[in-house]
Subunit: 141 residues, 6 copies
């Protein structure tokens, strides 16, 4: 993985700090994505790690739980399914609860339409299934 | 399924009426979705059933076929694939025809771009396949 | 306006037919837009007139009122204010009613969110004001 | 304004409660909008007040400040300028700060692109100007 | 495939020319799509071939490589995954390079947000895998 | 304007370089925007200048004219009017031509719908008017 290392030495602290926050937020699922994109081209991951997780998200003024709520809200509004799953994990990893996620989904119906709520709900449910926290009903029965 | 019952007695007529219209519109495919979301949290389905199907869609002024056309048009424009499939079924279940769906898709190209038309067409085609009304060609040959 | 004439003689029937439908649909407001864009470059209006109004919208299968409903629904969902105004006029010019427009707006809230309904309502109201069919209240009072 | 009253007596508590929360959130600017839309047709405001402010936003699980953050985030992501201004006011009225708004805007750049941040910033700045909390520089100088 | 033939003889040159450019651009993957949609209804493919590939994309003023860059940029911005894959192939088939695609993806992060970049990257990577030009890492290891 | 200076000395070269490219690209109109946003909060402009203009847009692999084409295409697709005007200027300032802009607009109709083309055209025309390169017709006549 040597080719993923940042080449600019003055930025490497930011990369390391960003990687640590990103791993705490997205966990192993984020690592799978990082390795895939970095294998295609290392710079594709350099900016999300250095700029987003190493700089923007570490600014004072909003805590990580609130920041994940913002990222997840954006993902639901814009219909980005991959991000819905990532930031559902991120929100839970920073202390968010299922009850709050349900409220976010219901409020999304009012502000982006019920299709946004339903697509969002499927993304959230998928994460809960993967975490072993939800067992889907026998919906064919 | 008792936990899906609305808790507010003054609203239960609306729930029952909404559920009936929803089942007529979306059929078994809608039931599969309802059970999944209601199993995760009952309120996720309470509003689509009470508010959308039980109230909004039952207002006078537009018939159900026209209302499904509106919902499907929104879904094609906004690129919501799950909704495209649902409201293709809904449009057919309220008297819409394949010819009208083709016209909607072609007009969508003009007003939301050809990618919207093509994504929409794949959603419509998927429903026609499931209903046994279309058999895809041997596209590999 | 000679430079707005189509150069390809085999397409000029389509241009004339499209122009006639477009004028019936959008009226003088559409003419103002056409002259502005055609003055910048004639081809900018050639395709909307020949392809959209001269071909797509004249296909059988859906009547003009339904087609304007589709165009307006797209415009509300995608937040295109200029188109909301144009197709509000178009819908009225092909027999649509205020009651139907209110229903479309309310249904838009369910399928694209209340902000889409409110932005749509402002566009519709603006047209009704221009047509002298609505007098806004003294909202400052 | 009698024609704005809800006709269904069992829902009027929700209307009154929703109206109160809405006024606390959006203030006079929200009243101007309400009167305009209700004058066009009373039902256009009935659902935002009864369903959104009277029901969805009053559910437990998220406080009003967090809910306004969600609404504002949606508005920035989807590029709805009118809503950006409304929910900037709403966020401030429920205890949000300028520092938090700046952080939301910067994070929006990462999750919806810099154009979303800049359009959002103009909406936020417009509210601060109206509130007398910001005096724009002599940008022509 | 006789029913896919255009019925209007004055347009058939445009169809043939459009089909040729489309095949050069999208290759066999485009043929698979064409056969599927044309089997559902021939007119669904008539306009993409005649109007888009036979007319718009053949206008002078921009070369095919630049035009594919525009189509791909739109697809990334609007989150249309099917189009991202199609126009990644189209861009490569008209002389585009991997290096340029990486730059487009990184710039997309700035103008449409990192989720747009990441969804775009997955689409581009999928094409490179299908072409045998990229072998994904053992991301589970 | 001292409070707009970057506080981190190791980043100031990037800020200066980004500012120079941004001024060459967006000109005085960009300066007006920069002063407005920086007066509200200096960090709102730090990232567009350091990260976008100072880093992303200066990467090798795509020239500035192509990069402005990408930014403008995104803006047209996503309906961001402010950005359409900015990057119309940017595209012209890096050697783009009116003919190419017209082609981009027409292609946008195919890939994002005619409303995107028309909104885009109004943005482009507004810039040409400001530059004294286009005089609108007497559209009322």
């Amino acid at each position: 993985l040597a080719n993923e290392e940042p080449t600019n030495p003055i930025e490497s602290d930011r990369y390391r700090s960003g990687h640590a926050l990103r791993f705490k937020t997205l966990g192993d699922a984020g690592e799978v994505r990082r390795r895939m994109l970095a294998a295609f081209h290392p710079d594709l991951m350099r900016y999300p790690i250095e700029f987003v997780f190493g700089e923007i998200l570490q600014r004072p003024g909003l805590d990580q739980k609130t920041r994940e709520l913002i990222s997840l809200t954006m993902a639901i509004g814009l219909g980005r399914q991959r991000e819905i799953r990532s930031h559902t994990r991120g929100y839970l990893n920073h202390g968010g609860t299922k009850e709050e996620l349900v409220e976010l989904l219901i409020q999304s119906a009012a502000y982006a339409g019920f299709p946004a709520m339903i697509d969002g709900a499927y993304g959230v449910i998928e994460v809960f299934e993967e975490l072993g926290l939800f067992h889907p009903p026998d919906v064919e029965g």
